[in-house]
């Protein structure tokens, strides 16, 4: 499913958080949302997940408007939030059953889907453990399994690897890429860690609430005349600061 964002702006009182964003993410595409802290990434996620109400502009999934048909849109969206939203005192299974119920699944449907998703994440043997007993990487895997329970066609991940060690970050990133390929999931992966982005990924570069680029990583490098994406990213964001 494609995501189409048009003329999206948002402000907290007088402070503008997002200004006139326009971009499209194609079906089955892994896109990165890049930006330093305070760039507006979390606000964009809050709008994409209906946590915040739109102030101006529109968000559409495969032509369905988020504001007009929230039920249909939210059935297609899976989310992994920046901060863990798992209930630490409940088991992995109990957390997932809760999420499935929120999507209207019966117990039998939920258990069947949970078994599949936990297996996919190599977490099937941890189903009855309390989340508190899991390490950060495993908790993230559970959150990804949870986001996929209702078989969405869009997966939004807000800095899913923050606080994880490099090895775990790499594994998670590869895993989501594999999902994207296998299931034709449209993935938006917010991060400020450049090494998580491949040269041919679409990279939405957000800075001070504005979208500086929505091209591939490679094009970003060409555009900025830099060889490495990290340098291109630095160059483009600094240019904006200088222009401001």
């Amino acid at each position: 499913m494609s995501i189409n964002v048009e003329q999206l702006s948002f402000s907290y009182g007088r402070k503008t958080a997002l200004s006139d964003l326009n971009f499209t993410l194609e079906r089955g595409e892994f896109s990165a949302l890049l930006g330093p802290n305070g760039a507006g990434k979390s606000t964009l996620f809050a709008l994409l997940t209906r946590l915040f109400s739109l102030q101006s502009g529109s968000i559409q999934l495969q032509g369905l408007d988020l504001q007009k048909t929230p039920t249909q849109v939210m059935q297609q969206v899976g989310v992994v939030f920046q901060q863990s939203t798992l209930d630490l005192d409940l088991s992995v299974q109990q957390n997932l059953v809760y999420h499935a119920a929120l999507h209207g699944f019966s117990s039998a449907e939920a258990n069947a889907r949970i078994a599949i998703e936990l297996d996919r994440m190599s977490m099937a043997d941890r189903a009855n453990e309390k989340v508190r007993a899991l390490n950060g990487g495993h908790r993230r895997r559970v959150e990804i399994a949870r986001a996929l329970l209702h078989q969405p066609s869009v997966l939004l991940l807000d800095e899913p690897t923050s606080g994880l060690d490099p090895q775990t970050r790499k594994i998670l990133n590869q895993h989501v890429r594999q999902l994207c390929e296998d299931q034709q999931l449209t993935v938006l992966w917010a991060t400020h860690l450049i090494d998580e982005i491949h040269a041919n990924d679409r990279a939405l570069l957000l800075h001070q609430g504005k979208l500086l680029s929505s091209s591939t990583g490679q094009n970003l490098c060409t555009l900025s005349g830099k060889e490495q994406l990290a340098h291109a990213f630095e160059h483009l964001t600094q240019q904006t600061v200088a222009a401001a």
């Binding site: 849109v73 901060q83 209930d87 059953v97 809760y98 999420h99 119920a101 929120l102 999507h103 209207g104």
Partner: protein, 265 residues
């Protein structure tokens, strides 16, 4: 695809089960929530028994001890603390994370909030009945069927207090922490009601205090429970409690805004 009624039911069941699981996980919170009303019942009531004589009043058919008088008010006190605490934590506490999960459901937001309020209310009832069980030890013995007839009254009062809590947390920024709510909402609501003393006693002391107590919805909640516990129905108390529940549920749902909570963090 629109959601079916079965899906709505599964959603409600899921929210309720989670609330129950959290309740049994947090046993210390359960016991500490029971200590407060039990202190009132065992210590405060023992001390005040001599000072306060209770005449025969509705719904009681005979003279009663002070413990018997304040028991319904203390049940409502449990619901008051639970309702306020849970509703506030829904918006401001660490619970904000779980609120995000709740709001990711494709079902309408009003339905999710009603599910949450009802679930909190139903789980609070377990505490109320645990309290009533212990209260038997100090001779608070309502008729056996009274425990059943009081059930819908407890539920309605619990939803009313949860809705008031949610409304407050959505609108009054200054009361973001629980201590503020205790001082400015819970204590005035509790003390300015018929929970601890009959209103005619209050009228003898001060006409304007009596007027405030008579305008307090918590008074009617307590009276509804008091009557229901003795298998009687107080129409006025029911009407005021029901109207307050509907009014604050509508206001709370209408005013619910996670954006405000996120900004305040």
């Amino acid at each position: 695809m629109n959601m079916s009624s079965a899906q709505y039911w599964h959603c409600f069941r899921g929210v309720l089960v989670r609330e129950y699981l959290r309740f049994i996980q947090q046993r210390t919170r359960f016991f500490s929530a029971l200590v407060r009303p039990l202190l009132w019942l065992v210590v405060f009531a023992a001390g005040f028994r001599a000072a306060l004589g209770i005449a025969i009043i509705e719904p009681y058919e005979t003279y009663i001890t002070y413990e018997v008088y304040i028991a319904p008010g203390l049940c409502c006190m449990i619901l008051l603390f639970n309702g306020m605490q849970s509703s506030l934590s829904m918006v401001y506490d660490r619970e904000m994370g779980s609120m995000r999960v709740l709001l990711m459901s494709p079902l309408p937001r009003w339905f999710l909030l009603v599910c949450k309020l009802l679930s909190i209310a139903l789980v609070s009832l377990l505490q109320v009945y645990a309290f009533l069980l212990i209260a038997l030890l100090v001779d608070v013995e309502p008729p056996l069927w009274g425990y059943l007839t009081a059930l819908p009254a407890f539920l309605l009062v619990a939803v009313m207090l949860g809705a008031i809590g949610l409304f407050i947390s959505s609108w009054i920024k200054q009361l973001e922490n629980f201590a503020g709510v205790m001082n400015f909402v819970i204590f005035p609501m509790f003390f300015l009601s018929s929970a601890l003393y009959p209103l005619w006693k209050m009228q003898e002391a001060s006409e304007w205090l009596y007027w405030i107590c008579s305008s307090n919805p918590f008074t009617y909640a307590v009276e509804l429970v008091r009557h229901a516990l003795y298998m009687k129905f107080d129409l006025l108390a029911f009407s005021v409690t029901l109207s307050t529940t509907i009014l604050f549920s509508l206001l709370a749902i209408n005013g619910f805004n996670p954006q405000r909570a996120a900004k305040g963090k």
